[in-house]
Symmetry: C2
Subunit: 330 residues, 2 copies
């Protein structure tokens, strides 16, 4: 699609990660121009990071073939902790040293555009809601499965940001209060401690002690144990790997059901690197949800994979910028 | 306050329970006239129940000293299961035989007023939000502790009803996925299976086997074991009763924290009969929440008891009727 076929106005989305910055221009219907990616260089601190955000934005606008003057507003998705309303990064674990950094103000000044800040997982959920797997729905819960578990919730077209910018931190709902696993956050029994890619590998290593003949032992010896190789071993018929994958599906179903009994959305999405495991994992999750949920949501709630991949973040950030701009009549 | 001092327009709220119907008129600021209560006679079926709803409404309007002509709209809170949007009761466990009953239409016809249906726990949460302990907040989660655990969630002034009228069924979030207690709904590990008044008594009876010298044994022998008598025994220093009460507080904190990491509201409220336990239970819940929640919500989220008691349901139902009427410009 050429720039002429797109629907103005246009918005720039930027997805700030600990490793890379992704950015792209998005049209009024949520259709993205080709995105770009550059390194964050997070360890060099927020001033260098800010320069890189500006560079990413410039490259994305250039890649779109549009002039900067046609960009109405900018949306930035960032990992937390943050104050969304104030546009501040507080002390994000993935951006060490970016403490109390007024990123919305600084980026907005640097780009001379109205700019909003959003949590990255919220932005990804909004991206899928606006123009991905959640298109046409009214409410959505999305889990992003990676080293951790991110979550975003949309209800009646609004992101549940929370009073203290902690809305949808559902990787940290408690699913096993007694004798629960330790989470990366230091607390116990959280969903993330069971169902993230990191947790899957950890569970595999623990289980190897009692299953030394598993194909996973060889992978572990070669330092090749990842959520991907565990999935591949399950596909190849390794019993331990199969059990670990089906446990993962069950844990994810437990989290999904608690959200279905809280938000009761149209659709629950799973995104992130782990969905490379393909349709079998999704079907297993669906089966477990049917066992655990109340009859009506069990029957009617759609359970799907996300569709936008790594672009969901910048598309959703652009979408949040559009929401704000529209509300303010730009 | 006399009728003259109230702020029109006026709304009638009706709270339909399995045993009693409560009703009262509420003014535009959420201030209730004195409410009335009559028996539901639920077992006599929905037609008798409907007559009783009409009778309750008539008595409440009469008690207000207003003429029916001054009532703008009617809100009905009811136990589930239901279809809120369609105004249907589906198959409520507490109203046996009221199956697929178009209660909103029938009640609206009988009273000749615009009428809305709301889940009873949602209505109670909205009541507290509008004119109780949540007044002045922007978002709220309320747990109603009784034989079960009801829940209602308000975000930005809207009730989270859910796509299938299952929003805020948070008595049925999973807090112990492995080896969890059986819930009244038949599933396992739900919050309600640990922290309701019924669950407290059940845990007490189980624990008596290993603590035969507890003061609770005598109560049990006289069939006087209730959440109230267990609380009283704890106050009197019985070690088992004290442990049971502090466990209850911890379970409630687990549920509250999962909601704080999902909705991140301004305030979490506890209501229902169990709050007769008083300030000590609330303080224990607060202490447990501080241990389990992320630092910012742990510090900033207010944790309080509800204030409206048994009137929250009809006040909130009237408030939901007002929301609808206002949106439609009545």
């Amino acid at each position: 699609m050429s720039a002429e076929e797109r629907q103005p106005p246009f918005y720039l989305g930027i997805d700030l990660g600990g490793t890379n910055i992704k950015s792209g221009v998005v049209d009024d219907l949520g259709r993205a121009f080709e995105g770009i990616s550059i390194e964050t260089e997070a360890e060099r601190g927020p001033e260098v990071g800010l320069r890189n955000l500006v560079e990413a934005g410039n490259r994305a606008v250039k890649a779109s073939g549009l002039d900067w003057s046609r960009i109405t507003a900018v949306g930035l998705g960032s990992p937390g902790t943050m104050d969304i309303q104030e546009g501040l990064l507080l002390n994000p674990p993935n951006l060490p040293g970016w403490v109390n950094f007024p990123i919305r103000l600084r980026l907005g000044e640097a780009l001379s555009k109205p700019t909003i800040l959003q949590n990255d997982a919220n932005a990804a959920a909004y991206g899928e809601y606006w123009s991905g797997a959640g298109r046409g729905t009214n409410s959505l819960v999305m889990f992003t499965l990676g080293t951790g578990i991110g979550c975003g919730i949309i209800d009646h077209g609004k992101v549940i940001e929370g009073r203290h910018s902690h809305g949808a931190e559902c990787g940290h709902i408690i699913i096993q209060m007694e004798g629960g696993r330790k989470c990366s956050c230091g607390r116990f029994g959280h969903l993330e401690a069971y169902a993230s890619a990191t947790a899957l590998v950890k569970r595999a290593i623990e289980a190897l002690a009692e299953n030394p003949k598993s194909a996973l032992a060889e992978l572990h010896n070669h330092d090749e144990l990842t959520s991907r190789t565990i999935h591949d071993a399950a596909e190849a018929g390794d019993p331990l790997a199969s059990r670990l994958m089906s446990d993962t599906a069950r844990y994810l179903a437990v989290g999904a059901v608690s959200l279905m009994h809280t938000i009761d959305p149209d659709i629950v999405l799973f995104g992130g690197g782990m969905i490379a495991a393909g349709p079998k994992l999704l079907d297993t999750i669906r089966g477990e949800i049917k066992k655990l949920a109340f009859p009506v949501p069990a029957e009617k709630t759609r359970i799907e994979y996300a569709q936008l991949g790594g672009d969901a973040g910048f598309i959703g950030a652009a979408g949040c910028a559009r929401l704000k701009a529209t509300a303010e009549g730009h």
